[in-house]
Symmetry: C2
């Protein structure tokens, strides 16, 4: 049996190792177009920024190590030009010699990955404009910075790679501007969460331009010296990084007439088998079943790629593994702030037509009495009728990764927010609180689910403040908090004296209460409801979820 694998990074390398463990007798050949196999592409921004000092650290395997350990024949610098499905062979070009040859296969595994998107803009091919997708890309950026006086950098695209690379360039003492065409960075996140990151980045000295795209790069002697935005704004620059996104490499699959899905990837079943039963596929080029929506989507991330590769490798070699799908769980750290997501954001839930509610909390990552606690911002998306988790977004400076993984696990298992509040998680004061962030998020969402309190999001509140002049807005924080900042029209009655001042309020009016994070507001809502107030809403997440949004709206281009 002869297995050919196209692509030697995450999906391909995993497939090769698993195929060999499954089948000692198979011939396994892996073709990789680039000069390296199994390199750490997620480490590239950290290598650019010198957090990873030794380039060799990025090279996890070599053709030699693959041969020695797994008897997999690895051919780097070899591009597969075409798949001949009827005769079951591939046409391969040795990029070093130019020689073209055919290799027969019994089973084929496609792991071509995705390439960085390079838009067809004037000046885009200047020598100081880079992507961050391969080891040679990173080498080129580092060489350029070493060899040229480089002060001002423009990062195009405020997604995960863009923000990691922005940090890397800040580490190198460059002046960094991130330009994002959408109205917010980190598009997979809801805007009220993304603004927490953008505010942090501005505070740390990154220039952030949202809602504006690149029109052109102006160049001289093959070097771009300025980028012109669609708004007309011009930014002087010594270097630019393109991190707009990735596009799956579908050329081979299309030419071979393998089925391509509506989500724009190679269609595979849960055995990672394509529309041709002898061809498997894995990684950034395939479609994945989203475990919450049940629909096919694309999730170009290392975790699914590795798991899919393992499944494809096992099955191509005669085994029987399956890949059930993924949640799109992802995490990014930039300039000391961490943002993570799993499942559906509020935007996603709305777009997919779910009947949902959201619940926002701002707990400390561990007990306040143990030194070093930091605030987390947690937003849950919950199915209205069943209380089932649909997704979560978490932002903070530490402890984010733990909570998103716990919720991703709960999400996989189909748990409800009432299950969440009962989780028995590990508690010691430096790691968690007895009612830690996940359990607290569960409490708050489950209280809403059970109807103990009705909540309102900042977005809904803004809308209602505009449309309902009779809305009674109650701030239950203390006077010093109120003096510092409060919502317009808000009436102050501190929670501890609310019971004595109920006569100041009209029980017939629709009432929205808020505090700093939502906890005192919850108690206030309970008090009002039990004193005959008919329509009471607690602002989910409190005022902490509110002002950043408005601040950000005031200054979209600063």
């Amino acid at each position: 049996m002869r297995i050919i694998i196209i692509g030697g990074v995450a999906g391909g390398a995993s497939a090769a190792a698993k195929a060999r463990r499954t089948n000692e007798a198979a011939d396994i050949i892996m073709f990789e177009r680039g000069p390296f196999v199994s390199f750490a592409n997620c480490g590239l921004p950290y290598y650019v920024g010198n957090t990873i000092a030794d380039r060799n650290e990025l090279l996890l395997q070599t053709p030699e190590s693959f041969w020695n350990r797994f008897r997999v024949e690895v051919k780097v610098g070899h591009e597969v030009l075409r798949i001949n499905r009827s005769q079951k062979h591939v046409k391969v070009k040795n990029l070093n010699t130019g020689a073209v040859f055919s290799e027969p296969y019994d089973k084929l595994i496609l792991a071509p990955g995705a390439g960085a998107i390079v838009p067809p803009l004037s000046g885009i091919h200047a020598k100081n404009i880079f992507t961050v997708k391969t080891v040679p890309d990173s080498d080129a950026i580092k060489s350029f910075i070493t060899e040229h006086l480089t002060k001002q950098a423009v990062v195009v695209g405020g997604g995960f790679i863009g923000l990691e690379t922005a940090e890397a360039l800040m580490n190198l003492k460059l002046d960094v501007t991130v330009v994002e065409m959408a109205n917010q960075i980190l598009l997979p996140f809801d805007q009220d969460m993304a603004v927490l990151v953008s505010a942090h980045l501005r505070e740390k000295g990154i220039h952030l331009i949202e809602g504006d795209g690149i029109r052109a790069f102006h160049e001289q002697d093959d070097l771009a010296y300025e980028t012109e935005l669609q708004s007309g704004q011009r930014l002087p620059m010594d270097l630019a990084i393109l991190s707009i996104g990735v596009r799956p490499e579908l050329k081979l699959a299309r030419e071979a007439e393998l089925q391509i899905g509506d989500a724009g990837g190679i269609v595979v079943n849960d055995h990672q088998q394509t529309s041709d039963p002898d061809i498997y596929a894995a990684g950034d080029a395939v479609e994945v079943r989203h475990l919450v929506t049940g629909k096919p989507t694309r999730i170009p991330l290392a975790g699914p790629a590795n798991k899919q590769g393992r499944v494809a490798g096992a099955n191509a070699a005669g085994g029987d593994l399956h890949f059930p799908g993924a949640l799109g769980t992802a995490i990014v750290e930039t300039m000391g702030i961490i943002a993570a997501k799993t499942g559906l954001s509020e935007n996603d839930a709305r777009a997919h037509g779910f009947d949902y509610f959201v619940s926002v909390t701002h707990p400390l990552d561990h007990t306040g009495y143990y030194p070093g606690a930091e605030q987390l911002h947690v937003k849950l998306t919950v199915e209205q009728k069943t209380g089932k988790l649909l997704g979560a977004q978490i932002i903070g400076e530490q402890g984010v990764d733990k909570r998103i993984d716990v919720i991703a696990t709960a999400l996989t298992a189909g748990l409800t927010v009432e299950d969440l509040e009962q989780l028995d998680l590990a508690y010691a004061p430096q790691f968690n609180s007895a009612k830690g962030p996940v359990i607290m998020a569960g409490f708050v969402a489950a209280n809403t689910l059970r109807g103990e309190v009705q909540t309102i999001t900042n977005e809904e509140l803004q809308h209602r403040l505009t449309n309902n002049p009779n809305l009674q807005l109650l701030d239950v924080r203390n006077p010093s908090e109120f003096a510092e900042q409060h919502l317009p029209q808000a009436h102050l009655i501190p929670i501890d004296s609310l019971r004595e001042h109920l006569h100041e309020l009209d029980p017939q009016k629709e009432t929205v209460v808020y505090c700093r994070v939502g906890l005192r507001g919850y108690l206030a809502a309970r008090i009002l409801l039990q004193h005959g107030f008919e329509q009471v809403y607690n602002l989910t997440g409190g005022i902490l979820s509110y002002p950043l949004l408005s601040e950000n709206k005031k200054t979209p281009n600063s």
Copy 2:
């Protein structure tokens, strides 16, 4: 309606707040024997060791704050002497004035907690022997150390509190000896895991005596100057901490003839209701349904206590919440090493008659190419037939809390190890690997479950090496690793040349392969199985799981 709560720490305080949120109209009175309510008892060792500098940090609520926020009348320094169930009142003694009075109740919530065990040993009441259960306990330890020349400390009991307190005393530059009567510290853990902690503690300069108990303290002028062990060994001492364990406070419940269960706690249903429907109970004194065994047990930890209190408070006040049970998830950090557990250890699984297997892995907590990665030690207990998780133990220097919480969540949801290997967890190089520790543990255990490889534990291997002289023991690491340390009788064939040296082995013999952590051993086992070897076992966790055990056995008292 009148609700009386006995005990004002974790369970009682949670009950009071939730009762109020549930019912604005109830009178709520809380009696606490000690001088403080709602204090951070899990913070006490850190206050002793000056990690928490300000004592006020430990006092989360005061009687005044409870009244102001929740209109709960808190009476500290009040001991409830008796419950009169037929007349529905409690007899209370004001410990400051000596006055005794009765208070009627409609609903009663018992949250008496558990007291530190003080064994009846000669000299036990010396003034330099302390427990660490209350704020006054901690005050007394700190005062004693300030006022006396204190150099040598003995900590009696190597459980969670004992090891946290040992660290605290090390922080204060004392010479610390931990004496543990059992053959290992951290009894909830299997010995092969606990030895990782004891080796670390010895390396950090803590004297550790296992398998020996205290016979007596020898005192002069009310101060113990020496402790005598059951072995006859004598330890000079300036101070001793008793951290032997806790005993539930059952006096009131017994006298009121509430049902006490076989696990030694107050019996409650899932509404935290005792055998008297008007009396609820929560916290360290109650029995809890273990979510894996389904049996009642006691779990005297803050997490369950807080959740039970919330449920008891809601239900006593007319609400309807339930508490499904717990897993005994727990974590301890001491001298830079972290040990965490959820569900059943191997010992637990055996004791409860489960048909189980274990799976040991030693992954890095994040990618090796990103700076600062540390090794984790992960042991899963898995149900043999179904592959369902039964429990996990994890030890390491960082990232332990995250993985135990993910597995606790999986355990709650009844996931199998095949579900574990498919989890979509957050990956960036500083937080995780694409095939991170939980997923890797899932891969390895699922490979075993599916029969891709048979594994053997270090314990079984030791047994078999003694009983089967024909056993073929194969080390597949490289020669330098072998030279450093290997198992007696092991034959060396490095994995990369195994395929060429199969003739050195006898395919008829029972063969055990091992490497450093189990990964190369797995590939070796797959190679042997596919070359006609009939009985092949991979040492789960590799040699890294093995030698510590034997080292430790050699020197139980050093």
